[in-house]
């Protein structure tokens, strides 16, 4: 809080452009995200206290399998949030993924991979549209992606007429549901966990170890300064939306594999993704966040819900807690930004 703010600080709603050595940045990130890992450990301990089998590999891996879709959503959402935006369309994109896959594949394993390619194509398109409307037409991303949510939901409902058709064959469902048997040490290793680890590593790499990731952070932290220093803000943000959409399609494939096609898929996931990212230490408004933190945040959220189930709390409590998390996060972000001036 300086008495005479310099020009960049006056115009900076959040941190100044991210600078400093890799080590400094890493330390900052760790300090910001340590709490969520502590939280995750506490939650796992509480679950294990209630159901001791939870710590055994098959059960814990099954937990990771069920959490995988949300973790992937959180990864995608983090790209958008560190860039200073929101993506509310990811839940309905998951719905589209599952419903379209079931209808087009219709139980024929030969079609699976082509349809998957199509689904990622749809994700790419959705991300591009979100990006274009937000950056060129200057519509706040909250509104843009909310509109996209309604468009996707409406289109799906119209297409299915209320009752989805078709089915997902085993070679589609294998990612979300099946496992490698007799894996050394771990026993049954679900494919979903492998997908999770691989895509999670990719996400960590992109955000924290590439120039592109750094540009995303700086865009969210200080869009004006970033633009002035040569970052193509529109392109960076659009890329973030595309990444979010692609991760949402992947999450949909895992989720659809797990639950098979049903009338309501993907509902409410977008808010869970945002809650997860926020829990993981990301700053709503952009400029700060850790991919590892977001993933831990997602796992914490799933663990929290499981714990609430075990204690016998109804669904409404879960929604209320999510709401509280988001409100607290917004309040924190507001407090921080006022402190920075």
């Amino acid at each position: 809080m300086s008495a005479t703010p310099t020009a960049p600080e006056r115009s900076a709603p959040h941190e100044p452009v991210v600078k400093g050595s890799a080590a400094t940045r890493a330390l900052k990130t760790v300090k910001g995200t340590a709490p969520v890992f502590v939280l995750l450990i506490i939650l796992i301990a509480l679950i294990a206290q209630r159901t001791p089998v939870f710590l055994e590999p098959p059960v814990f891996l099954a937990f990771l399998l069920q959490a995988a879709p949300l973790v992937l959503l959180a990864c995608g959402q983090l790209f958008v949030i560190v860039s200073g935006e929101f993506d509310l369309s990811v839940g309905s994109l998951m719905t589209v993924t599952v419903v379209v896959a079931a209808r087009l594949i219709d139980g024929d394993p030969a079609k699976t991979y082509r349809v998957m390619a199509l689904l990622f194509g749809i994700g790419l398109l959705v991300g591009l549209v979100n990006g274009f409307v937000t950056t060129r037409l200057r519509v706040p991303s909250f509104i843009t992606t909310l509109g996209m949510l309604f468009i996707l939901d409406g289109a799906v409902n119209f297409w299915t007429g209320g009752a989805p058709r078709g089915s997902l064959p085993d070679n589609f469902r294998v990612f979300g549901r099946s496992a490698i048997e007799d894996f050394p040490v771990l026993g049954r290793l679900p494919y979903a966990v492998i997908v999770l680890v691989v895509l999670g590593a990719v996400a960590i790499y992109i955000l924290h170890f590439t120039d592109f990731g750094r540009r995303m952070m700086s865009t969210g932290g200080n869009p004006v300064a970033s633009e002035l220093s040569g970052v193509n803000v529109a392109r960076v943000k659009t890329a973030a939306f595309v990444l979010s959409a692609l991760f949402a399609v992947a999450a949909g494939i895992l989720y659809g594999g797990f639950t098979n096609v049903s009338a309501r898929v993907g509902e409410g996931f977008e808010l869970q993704a945002i809650s997860a990212v926020v829990l993981g230490g990301a700053l709503l408004g952009g400029g700060r966040g850790s991919m590892g933190g977001a993933m831990a945040g997602a796992l914490s959220l799933v663990a929290l819900f499981r714990l609430l189930n075990l204690y016998g709390y109804p669904q409404e409590i879960r929604d209320a807690i999510q709401g509280l998390i988001i409100i607290a996060a917004v309040a924190l972000a507001a407090l921080r930004s006022r402190a920075a001036r």
């Binding site: 300090k31 910001g32 709490p35 969520v36 502590v38 939280l39 506490i42 939650l43 509480l46 209630r50 159901t51 089998v53 939870f54 059960v59 099954a62 069920q66 007429g161 209320g162 009752a163 989805p164 058709r165 078709g166 089915s167 549901r177 049954r188 989720y255 797990f258 639950t259 098979n260 096609v261 049903s262 009338a263 309501r264 829990l279 230490g281 929290l304 499981r306 714990l307 609430l308 189930n309 075990l310 204690y311 016998g312 709390y313 109804p314 669904q315 807690i321 509280l324 998390i325 607290a328 996060a329 924190l332 407090l335 921080r336 402190a339």
Partner: protein
Amino acid sequence: MRVGRAGLLYLFIALSLIAAACGGSDDDNGNGGGAGEEGSGTGEHSEFFDQAQFEEQLAQRDIEPEGPEGEPWLQAIEPEMVDTSEFATDAPWNVCFSNAAVDNPWRVVGFETMNAEVDAQSDIAEFTVVDAEANDEKQISDIQDLARGDCDVLIVSPNTTEALTPAVEQACESVPVIVFDRGVNTDCPTTFIHPIGGYAFGADAAEFLVDNVDSGGNILALRILPGVDVLETRWSAGKEIFDDSELSVVGVEFTEGDAARVKSIVSDYIQRFGTIDGVWMDAGATSVAAAEAFEDNGMEVPPITGEDQNDFLTKWEEDGLTALAPTYPTYQWRTAVLAATQILSGEEVPKEWVLPQPKIDESTLGEYVAPDMPPLFYALCGCQEMDGFPERWTE
């Protein structure tokens, strides 16, 4: 400072969890975890439970219905007929329908079947349909509009019972009214069409488990939501039968009809209790998910109940499950139209048209399973012999 503020968030969550751990929650309906591993039992009866209706419905299952053989949508159990000659009018007819909604696959199949029946009736020239989109106020207004119009007969599928009663009473003054599916609290309608009911549904499922699960076995009951009249009756009947049996109900959980939640709940129970010997469900949309949850955990699927959705029937047949499908037949949507034609022809109809409510078991599964139909197609639509089958129900 910074960590302190973030810390507030985590402190809050930690406090909530500690509160949760100490307080716990065992509300009266018996859902949620119990303290020990004996399980939660079945809890208290809900305020909806009506002993007399329960016994009546259970008895109705065994009464031979009257009506044409092989056409259950035209059969009635112990009907008391009413005279409708005052409503007789010449064709062509204008039939009106106030629909609560088409917001779930059961209603989608039912509505399609109803339309097929209308098309098959050459005397019906006009079929006016208004969709209330699950909104009571809208449906009240819809019914008022239709009653003012030139309908020869008004069919109503009410969104809720209490709220729609006055509107139906008012409509009765201008036009003969047929009510089906959910009822209303007035007997002014010319006929009220419904299958036997929820108690019979829940009882069929529970009795199946009593017959197929060894004494002392662990039963998991999965319910969609609390407070929904048609679902509360199903569980009440199940509860009555389980309470009288040697089976141990270890959990009664609400799933909100969400497949992922079903899988998660079933897995939790398998981990907590080691084995679950039977699964009772109050509807069939997520029965496949429940069955798969056992497979995901590397276990055999125990005796399980569902409904006449095609995906459940298909899995039952393909995997050789031990299962039962009680039904709430969609063919009642046909009956509504047929009743309309009878009333407008001046023929007698039952005052309360209680339709048979078949259950699909091992012996009849083959007649109903349909590999080429969509997963959420309901086999008891009474539509298999109709014109346009299967295309109408697959597009």
